[in-house]
Amino acid sequence: MLNYRFRNSPQRFCDGLTRRQMLRLGSTGLFAGLSLPQLLRADEQDKLPGKAKACIFLFLEGGPPHQDTFDPKPDAPAEIRGPFQTVPTSVPGTFFTEHCRETAKIAHKFTVIRSHSHNDNGHSTGYFYLMTGRRPNFPDGEHPIPTNELYPSLGSIVGRELGARGSVPRYINMPHPMSAGGPGFYGAEYAPFVIEADPSQPDFEVKDLGQVEGLSAERSSLRQKLLAGLERDRPRQGRAAAMSTYYTKAYDLITSPEARKAFAIQSEPREVREAYGMTQVGQCALLGRRMVEAGCRFVGIDAPGWDVHFNCFPSLQGDLIPPADRAFAALINDLEQRGLLDSTLVVMMGEMGRTPRVNAEAGRDHWSMAQSACFAGGGTKPGLIIGATDKQAAAPVADPIGVSDILRTIHTLLGIDSDKEYPDPLGRPLPIVNGGRVISELIA
């Protein structure tokens, strides 16, 4: 197999200009805001060792309306502005909408990218594009799990590059599989371990990890003895050997007190659970923190329901924004208190934003041209607003940040070389991220 390494040149800016061209143009004043040291730093940031050791990715599936959350347009006409009020945040000059109540209190602890933009306006396709960085080769629509027939997802890549540590799997999805979160050609070894249960429910338990009904500890150990006795002295090769190691891991998960403890969200103090909110997304965020503490590298939380085409504002202010707002804020505060925020990257975003104008049915439709993405911890610079949309919240006014930029930045923060290549099933060398640049403003 071809295994040459090619470095992707990092000094490319989002408009395809090279650094030299930028400097040339810079002298005419177009880029006067960017100093030479900043430009040079952009070069090196790609190679930073990365502070973050794990990532919690809160995916708001369906397309959260950026103008109703982190990118309000109070001066726009009502049909664009929507009914929500704008409120100040802990950062002077930064405003969110009124339902981002908890995040507004800690706006100095995270950064919002308001200029995220791409041109895939579908749900499953946009999700796939964001998770893999590859253009989907299937039409949007009901495309059930998994969509990753070929390309590995962000979580699979992070899990592979950073490797396992601790007592829980390296890549976890909850409370169901992320439909674009599969391992692609990396194979099942890099598939997410899926916690298919809602941690906000009182009877929450991880599938196949619970005590099997009617099986005493005594019987359980007898079974283990029988199995171990039968397996003894059997050399294993290839996949059967791999299966043996998974058996060991699975058995460890079942029997490991640490793993069992990590999954036991019920043991969290009541006030901590309530700080996250007793909602699915809130408790997933809390369980995500527990997973990271136990060694997980990438927690993908899928929070669905954001595809608000009809009568959107009651559900946004009731069921959607407050739980996510609370979960995200609580997660940041909690990680910070535990000294884990520096080593844990937290991202919250969806696959698209929503149309500037409220439609005839009081909803907003798909709009991937403008989106807001929230980043906290893991070596990011807090308290910033990066980029801006125009007065209708329709498109970034300058320097749109694309999917490749987001992915390259996440990998860089985690110390992963985005230009590392793996041969795809056709033998073509496939870099982890194709193109894109590190969002240097975001790096602390």
């Binding site: 196949d208 043996s244 998960l253």
Partner: protein, 801 residues
């Protein structure tokens, strides 16, 4: 005319060596001509004894009589320094060969052609590779075509784009392309050409001369040759390759330093960019793909295992003969024949996707007749599960995805395939019908397949991969980097499907039609390309209404170069766990079968049995090679590609679930299906199932067998060890464990039955002793459940050994 380089261009020197009186030193070429400032010539030196040949290129002593004329490095590469003649002396162990050397064309060199001489530099430097400027959007505004398939646009990119700033004609050495390429200026890709080396000097000279696209004195390369083309190496040895390009005039020049080398088995033979092969200590074979511009050559390397005293096992049929031939050459001793139990379980699972029952296992194991294996093969091929199982496998490949082709379309396709298998319809007939199908998508026909292939290119890619084992998708965007297929071939093949349409019928259903059609446009030039099959002349459509008929006739013609071997390799891979060609649907000259004579014999056999898949399968199953044990010996432990032992295979998701159901005596209840329906009979590929998902059921989005994942995972292990679902089956009141526990059978017999029903074998004495511990208490029910749980979690159960 071309000369054969090895027969006439070797200087032979007799050596006086202590160990062997007949040792010879072979040096090639016998004369060296260097006619450009940047030329080089690789010398090859081989020590030939009675037993073997050994590459000494890097260990002999080289002396140039006039050091001012040429220089030679330790790697045996000569470079010109001044015009004139001299001699190269090659000295080793008292022997000496003298090679006349002539250098010309230095004082007034002929001009450099971008097309013929700069493109190879960009390719060798990996500038135009898929990870750099060769990717679709280029890199940093500099975009080259992938591996240089589009010279005109590459020339424009270098000479004209970016306001021509990449070349500096006033001061050629400050040209950006040179400064970046040699990493004198910051270059994201790093150093790609070495300052001052011939490649660097050639680019410099090209710019100095005015950067011509082509020059009249330059000739296109028509072919390349690699030497040696077939070599036997020993562990740890090295072998230098030489690559010679032949141009339209028949002139030959050495391009060893400019070619690319790719080993298809890097763990056996490694290849460096300089063309040096290094043998590992794993015996086996490797094909080294050599690429120079768009030309390919292959060097085959064998690495036999030393010290094996090969004992040729008996032969059941031609399959064995070919495999033993190969193993004998490689010094690999095959494993012994698998025992009856292993064979029994293997042949059931492979052929009908079903485990033998305890009763079937007992009957076979206690049968003493000598021909019981071949009788079992015949019996299995006649069982209804054969059609069930293979209908499932074929509908996977024919993309019977409920979402894509509707539920009715999936059912129609599944029923049609099932019927073909029950009737054992010849495969060529079956494919002919698939390729030319028209009619309602919902009918019992293969029409749904074309509903899934919704564009001419999609159809041509899928059909090429599925039925011909040829992957042409790379050629959509660029010349295939390791094959002869170009964008013309790609568009030409798609031209057979341009008459296709999906017609909406009044009742809302759809039908596949194919009438008329026009030639497909070239993806880059937009000019129409005459429809033609791969490697064939433009198709003649004068007597057909449906263009696909012409294709179907070509595909299924007896002399089609791909069709028979593609299906033969597919079946071989299914039963033997690995294709002779791997990936199984990637046949090409540069990806040879690991046993070419066997591949040819199998294709020939497929034609001889007139594409009767059962007859062909019978041949495979009756071979001794199929029936070998999976346990290994010292000589074949590391063999992964020559079938010297059986390879354990993961059970497909559906087969595993059926096996669990049969073993526990508790069928799975599928929502909306009658109780007792087996997984391999379920046509609904989208039926939600946690089990199918974690065990890797394919979604039928491609025609690639590789879509079916057989990789293990933690979730799988957890599910088998500790899930309520499996536990329910084990403890079910109507299940096997309960029935056995409540029977009058003594504990030993219960244990025996449980082993026979899961592993298709009797327990060993030790195993029986261990299992009796479960029966030590008074609870027979729990004991039977615990033993069943333990055997179900054995790797021996989860894998087809």
């Amino acid at each position: 005319m071309l000369r054969n380089p090895l027969s006439t261009c070797v200087a032979v020197v007799a050596l006086l060596m202590a160990t062997s009186a007949s040792a010879q030193l072979q040096v090639s070429p016998t004369t060296v001509t260097l006619d450009r400032p940047e030329s080089s010539q690789q010398i090859l030196v081989t020590l030939v004894t009675e037993q073997r040949r050994q590459d000494l290129t890097r260990s002999v002593e080289y002396v140039v009589e006039s050091p001012a004329i040429v220089t030679i490095d330790r790697e045996g590469l000569i470079h010109p320094l001044a015009e004139g003649t001299t001699r190269l002396l090659v000295k080793h162990a008292g022997g000496e060969a003298a090679i006349p050397v002539t250098v010309s064309g230095l004082v007034e060199p002929r001009a450099v052609s971008f097309l013929h001489e700069i493109q190879p530099v960009l390719t060798k430097g990996r500038c135009n590779s898929g990870g750099c400027h060769g990717k679709a959007e280029g890199q940093n505004g500099f975009k080259l075509s992938l591996l240089g398939f589009d010279a005109e646009s590459d020339y424009a990119a270098l000479v004209a784009d970016a306001r021509g700033r990449r070349l500096d004609f006033a001061e050629p050495e400050t040209s950006l392309v040179l400064r970046k390429g040699a990493a004198q200026s910051p270059h994201g890709g790093g150093k790609k050409i070495e300052f001052g080396r011939p490649e660097y000097r050639r680019v410099l000279r090209w710019i100095s001369e005015g950067a011509a696209y082509d020059v009249p004195t330059a000739q296109a390369t028509v072919s390349i040759e690699v030497e040696p083309a077939d070599v036997v190496m020993l562990a740890g040895q090295t072998q230098q390759l030489r690559v010679t390009a032949v141009d339209t005039q028949g002139h030959r020049h050495c391009v060893t330093t400019e070619a690319d080398y790719i080993s298809n088995a890097g763990h056996i033979i490694e290849a460096t960019p300089r063309g040096l092969l290094t043998a590992s200590d794993i015996p086996g074979e490797s094909a080294i793909l050599v690429r120079y511009m768009e030309h390919m050559a292959v060097c085959r390397v064998s690495l036999p295992r030393p010290g094996t005293n090969f004992v040729r096992p008996p032969e059941q049929n031609f399959v064995d003969a070919h495999v033993w031939n190969k193993l004998a050459r490689l010094g690999i001793q095959p494993s012994d024949l698998a025992d009856d139990a292993t064979f029994l379980r293997r042949v059931y699972l492979d052929t009908i996707g079903t485990l033998p029952t305890a009763a079937e296992a007992r009957a076979f194991l206690t049968d003493a007749t000598p021909d019981k294996r071949s009788r079992l093969v015949d019996a299995l091929l006649a069982r209804p599960e054969y059609a069930d199982y293979w209908a499932m496998r074929w509908t996977d490949l024919l993309r019977a995805d409920k979402i894509k082709v509707t539920a009715q379309g999936t059912v129609g396709l599944n029923r049609w395939v099932h019927k073909q298998l029950v009737e054992n319809r010849p495969y060529d007939d079956m494919v002919r019908e698939i390729l030319t199908v028209q009619g309602p998508v919902q009918s019992e026909s293969p029409a749904a397949f074309f509903k899934a292939l919704d564009a001419p290119e999609v159809a041509s890619r899928a059909i090429s991969q599925l039925f011909l084992g040829v992957r042409i998708e790379c050629a959509q965007c660029h010349h295939h980097p390791s094959e002869r297929w170009s964008q013309d071939d790609y568009a030409g093949l798609a031209g057979f499907f341009t008459g296709m349409a999906i017609k909406r019928l009044p009742d809302g259903t759809e039908a596949v039609l194919s009438r008329g059609g026009s030639d497909q446009k070239h993806p880059r030039t937009s000019l129409p390309v005459a429809a033609r099959a791969l490697g064939a002349a433009p198709a003649d459509f004068t007597s057909v209404h449906d263009r696909r008929e012409a294709l179907a006739a070509w595909v299924t013609a007896p002399d089609n170069p791909f069709f028979a071997s593609a299906i033969a390799n597919r079946l071989w891979a299914h039963y033997l766990g690995r294709g002779l060609v791997e990936p199984i649907d990637d046949q090409r000259a540069t990806n040879p079968a690991t046993n070419e004579p066997l591949m040819q014999a199998l294709a020939e056999h497929m034609r001889a049995v007139k594409f009767d898949l059962r007859a062909f399968t019978r041949t495979l199953l009756n071979s001794r090679v199929y029936q070998l044990a999976s346990s290994t010996n010292d000589s074949n432990r590391d063999d992964r590609q020559h079938f010297s032992h059986a390879r354990p295979k993961a059970l497909p998701a559906e087969v595993l679930l059926d096996a669990l159901c049969q073993t526990t005596g508790v069928p799975e209840k599928f929502n909306g299906w009658p109780l007792g329906v087996r997984s391999i009979q379920v046509w609904d590929n989208r039926m939600p199932s946690y089990f199918f998902r974690i065990f890797g059921r394919p979604v039928r989005a491609t025609v690639c067998e590789c879509e079916r994942s057989n990789e293990p995972s933690i979730s799988q292990a957890l599910h088998l060890l500790n899930s309520p679902e499996i536990n329910e089956k084990i403890t079910h009141r109507l299940g096997t464990a309960r029935k056995l526990a409540e029977s009058a059978k003594p504990a030993d017999e219960v244990i025996e039955d449980l082993f026979l029903g899961t592993l298709a074998r009797f327990p060993t004495t030790e195993e029986k002793t261990l299992m009796r511990e479960a029966f030590a208490g008074n609870n027979r029910r729990q004991a039977a459940e615990d033993v069943l749980w333990a055997v179900l979690n054995l790797k021996e159960f989860l894998y087809n050994q």
